[in-house]
């Protein structure tokens, strides 16, 4: 694999400064998006005979087809303006492949454009995801403010549903890529000894699609919001005002982004490993990424197809999901959860991978149970496709199959247990240094334990009869997703930012931030279990008056949790912009190959050529035990 490394930046040197703002970049992208939006809108209007659908709501401009087409053309305009179409169009026209890679652009401007450097895309993702995380968090604060009273008090029932919907959809949609976007894009190619991702343009496309999707989602506010939460159940979906179209378009674009991201990751990990990076020597984070990518590729198309059907129902009056026209609301529930359940493992698995990747560094021990951890990932990934109807235990659908779904759901806790075993085994008799990332790893275990343990109660039909659709479920999945993925994500920020930016985040502020986040997270969600056990339903603005006190406590804890996230932002601003603490090349004394590279990582990752990693072991920690027991084996063989 010989790679021609561009010797010097070529494009931006001999041109005047303003020149870089002209051409295929974000400015053109936004202009073309606006143009596309208007074109799509008018095509939709023309197709439906002007305001054909206005009879539904007399005084509004409801036209779902026009809005769908407007969104679609806007996205096409945006990615065209960003320059994503140049390469395929040039190739189709028979022109040679353009070598104008954007890797050489200097300064901040490159972060606002198509970049084929996986390290730039990783940073773009981290900042982009951070922004959406923040917006999703703000919505959570609005929810908690509304729930200070047991009757509508702050935003009212209609806006409340939109806010609940926005919170959940932002968190489950944009944050699907919270780990694969920033950390896998940045570090997987390095960990496997590759110069780049398999499809660098597609890699960039996944990011910009996600951002475009987010903007489309927020535009729901202009069209009346959507009342369905993240599940978008039919026929409520069909009944809703035009803001629902934003949800559909958003989630479909997220789905496309997920499929592309997943395929890119699979292709990269399968084909671009350097000599010596065998499957049994692949860093555990790459394994988690790989399994997650497979889940993305297999589950997200289901979502895209389902939403296309929903869009057709809404815009041209098909009735896939409308029982009176021969469709079924069950169909939507089934299709949605066939995507929806793998989705929650798409969120959980990368967190496990990150934690197991960081653990050996701070425990000064090799990763214990490497193979059983991989078996855990694969088992979770496989089983995640066989459990979706546990979301429909009360729905009456296939009620006779419930024992099967109960079993499959409970079986999934076995491979999850493997990951815990690897966690325990790695820390057993280790020498732990409690840095900030390590604290987050410990918190991950605690939170995920509670999240997983309560999942067992929910997987049982008789107990689920009490808990389904209530706050217990909310606490359960916040423990697994926020407590699992969220904590791993923040821990990984502390861990990887020194390599990504060459700047160290303050340990002192970090420790304060960790304890604040950990304690307030538990103060928020432990009482929510209690609220669920007392029968508080989800997504309601009216709730029993005797639960008001506990709800107020939860709200205050939630504000503290949000404040702890603001402290993280403060830490980032303080350490990286004001103080700019320079980071060492390898501040954690990690044995991973990514830490042997200079900071900042050169554009070509390995300027001296692809490394030979035949004798390389990313978990080469610890001292061999003399006369070790029969069970202890040597390093994983490169079979």
């Amino acid at each position: 694999m010989s790679v021609a490394v561009p010797a010097t930046p070529t494009s931006s040197i001999d041109r005047p400064g303003w020149r870089k703002f002209v051409g295929f970049n974000i400015i053109t992208g936004l202009i073309l998006a606006a143009v596309g939006y208007v074109i799509g809108w008018y095509i939709g209007k023309a197709l439906t005979g002007g305001s054909y659908y206005d009879y539904i709501r007399e005084n509004t401009q409801e036209n779902d087809l026009a809005l769908f087409l407007a969104y679609a053309f806007a996205v096409i305009g945006f990615i065209g303006g960003m320059g994503f179409l140049n390469y395929p169009l040039a190739r189709m026209a028979g022109r040679p492949a353009s070598l104008r890679e954007k890797e050489s652009d200097a300064g901040l401007w490159k972060y606002f454009n198509l970049s084929t450097d996986h390290k730039v895309v990783g940073k773009q993702y981290l900042v982009g995801i951070g922004v959406w995380f923040f917006i999703g968090g703000l919505n959570a604060m609005l929810i908690r403010t509304e729930l200070l009273h047991n009757t509508p008090s702050f935003v009212g029932p209609e806006s409340y549903l939109t806010i609940v919907g926005l919170h959940s959809v932002i968190m489950l949609g944009t944050l699907t890529s919270a780990v694969l976007g920033p950390f896998a894009n940045y570090f997987v190619p390095i960990m496997i000894g590759s110069r780049r991702m398999a499809f660098p343009r597609i890699e960039a496309l996944t990011f910009w699609l996600l951002m475009a999707a987010g903007v489309i989602l927020m535009s729901t506010i202009l069209f009346g919001g959507f009342p369905t939460g993240w599940t978008g159940y039919q026929p409520l979906n069909d009944q809703a005002v035009m803001g629902m179209d934003s949800y559909i378009m958003f989630f479909a674009l997220v789905g496309i982004s997920m499929v592309l991201l997943g395929m890119n990751m699979i292709a990269t990990i399968v084909t671009m490993r350097a000599p010596g990076v065998t499957w049994s020597r692949l860093p555990i984070f790459c394994w988690a990424t790989f399994v997650t990518a497979v889940l993305m590729v297999l589950s997200a198309p289901m979502l895209i197809g389902t939403l296309l059907m929903a869009a057709l129902d809404r815009s041209i009056g098909t009735s896939f999901f409308i029982s009176i026209g021969g469709g079924s609301s069950y169909l939507f529930e089934n299709l949605f959860w066939f995507f929806g359940h793998p989705e929650v493992y798409i969120l959980a698995l990368p967190g496990m991978g990150l934690v197991l990747e960081m653990l050996p560094v701070f425990a000064r021990k090799p990763l214990w149970g490497y193979r059983i951890a991989i078996a855990g990932f694969l088992g979770v990934g496989l089983m995640s496709f066989f459990v979706w109807q546990h979301h429909l235990f009360m729905s009456g659908i296939n009620a006779d199959l419930r024992p099967f779904y109960m079993l499959s759901t409970e079986i999934i806790s076995i491979p999850t247990g493997f990951v815990f075993l690897a966690f325990i085994g790695t820390l057993w008799r280790s020498k732990i240094t409690f840095t900030v990332p390590m604290l987050f790893c410990m918190a991950w275990a605690f939170n995920f334990l509670l999240g997983g343990g309560t999942g067992v109660v929910l997987s049982d039909v008789p107990t689920d009869t009490q808990l389904h659709g209530g706050f217990f479920v909310i606490a359960h999945f916040h423990y697994t997703i926020m407590g699992g993925l969220g904590f791993a994500f923040v821990g990984a920020i502390y861990y990887y930012v020194p390599k990504m930016w060459g700047l160290q985040l303050s340990e002192k502020i970090g420790k304060v931030q960790f304890w604040m986040m950990f304690l307030s997270f538990n103060a928020t969600f432990l009482p929510i279990f209690a609220l669920g056990l007392k029968g508080m339903a989800r997504r309601v603005v009216y709730y029993p008056a005797d639960l008001e006190t506990l709800n107020r406590f939860v709200s205050i804890a939630a504000y503290t949790l949000f404040a702890s996230m603001l402290l993280l932002v403060f830490n980032v601003v303080y350490s990286m912009i004001i103080k700019r603490y320079p980071a060492e090349k390898n501040p954690w004394k990690s044995k991973g190959i990514e830490w042997t590279l200079p900071t900042p990582v050169p554009v070509a990752n390995f300027p001296e050529g692809i490394p030979d990693m035949t004798d390389f072991d990313p978990y080469d920690y610890g001292v061999p035990e003399r006369g070790a027991g029969a069970g202890a084996t040597a390093a994983p063989a490169g079979a």
Binding site: Y233, G396, L407, G417, R429
Partner: protein
């Protein structure tokens, strides 16, 4: 460090903590689990919750205790850079772990399935043709959800329709839950009942109230802006009192009953899709209603 046998010490600690934690989970926390105990199903659910919590306790204690143990005993001493032992796996431990967790999980699944089937769905919505039906159904009630209210029909009392609900104590009751528009979920926490109301689907749930108690009815599936306000109240009463109530409802609704559609397990939904030209009326009335609701909410804000 000396030769501390961490394995033995940790196992002992785990055993002690589990022995302490189990009675707490069963007898202290247990009674607070399960939010309603006024029906056979609800009691079974509360019991199942305690059983599952007790089963999970040893595992939760194991991991939780380990985190504390590791934080205390597996620390890097200050100003040192020691390395741990380079041990990478242990076949015996891994195998034990797999066997123990698998057996536990299978036991839980069997327990849950037996509970579910032998208790007639345990109060959950079990579809149109439940696997196991009780032989002695004392009363049938149809529950009809629509945006945003519950209506009850009593097929054994001339198909009368009521807004409220009263149920006789100590009788197996069959609920037939359906919807006229979107998906709702009929939940009575005191009776341990939850069944989704789907348009054009009959979803059956069984329960046997055992206590004279007022109860609260809620919708637990998001069904639009007034989902949160879709709640009401009912009572479990004695047989005679129930008959008195339902007879009074029959008399009160005598003029309405002839105008009701004939009793059926499902009804033509009021909502026919966004743009179905073929179905007259429903869209209009539906949208008008929504408009009204929106205006009302706007005025309230």
């Amino acid at each position: 460090m000396g030769e501390v046998n961490h394995g033995r010490r940790f196992a002992t600690l785990w055993l002690i903590c589990t022995i302490i934690a189990l009675p707490i989970v069963i007898w202290v926390i247990g009674p607070h689990m399960g939010y309603g105990k006024a029906a056979t199903g609800a009691e079974d659910q509360a019991e199942a919750m305690t059983v599952l919590a007790a089963t999970a306790t040893p595992f939760m204690v194991l991991v939780g205790l380990f985190l504390i143990y590791a934080a205390i005993f597996f620390r890097q001493p200050k100003h040192e850079a020691l390395e741990g032992p380079a041990v990478r796996d242990n076949a015996k431990i891994q195998l034990t772990w797999i066997v123990v967790t698998s057996i536990t999980v299978l036991a839980i699944a069997v327990y849950g399935s037996v509970e579910l089937i032998s208790k007639y769905g345990g109060g959950s919505g079990s579809g149109a043709s439940p696997l196991n039906r009780p032989s002695h159904v004392g009363l049938k009630v149809q529950v009809i959800g629509q945006q945003w209210q519950w209506t009850y029909r009593w097929p054994e009392f001339g198909g009368v329709e009521t807004k409220g609900i009263e149920l006789p104590v100590n009788q197996m009751i069959e609920f037939n839950v359906t919807s006229l528009d979107v998906i709702h979920s009929w939940t009575v926490k005191e009776l341990g009942i939850k069944a989704d109301a789907n348009p054009q689907v009959n979803n059956i749930a069984f329960t046997e109230p055992t206590k004279l108690t007022p109860f609260e009815v809620r919708c637990t599936e998001l069904c639009g802006i007034w989902h949160g306000a879709m709640f009401g109240y009912g009572r479990v009463v004695s047989d005679e009192e129930f008959l008195r109530w339902i007879r009074a409802e029959q008399v009160r609704n005598a003029a309405v009953i002839p105008h009701l559609p004939p009793f059926a397990l499902t009804y033509q939904p009021q909502y026919g899709g966004t743009h179905h030209g073929g179905f007259e009326e429903p869209e209009e009335s539906e949208s008008e209603k929504r408009e009204k609701e929106q205006k009302a909410s706007g005025a309230g804000a």
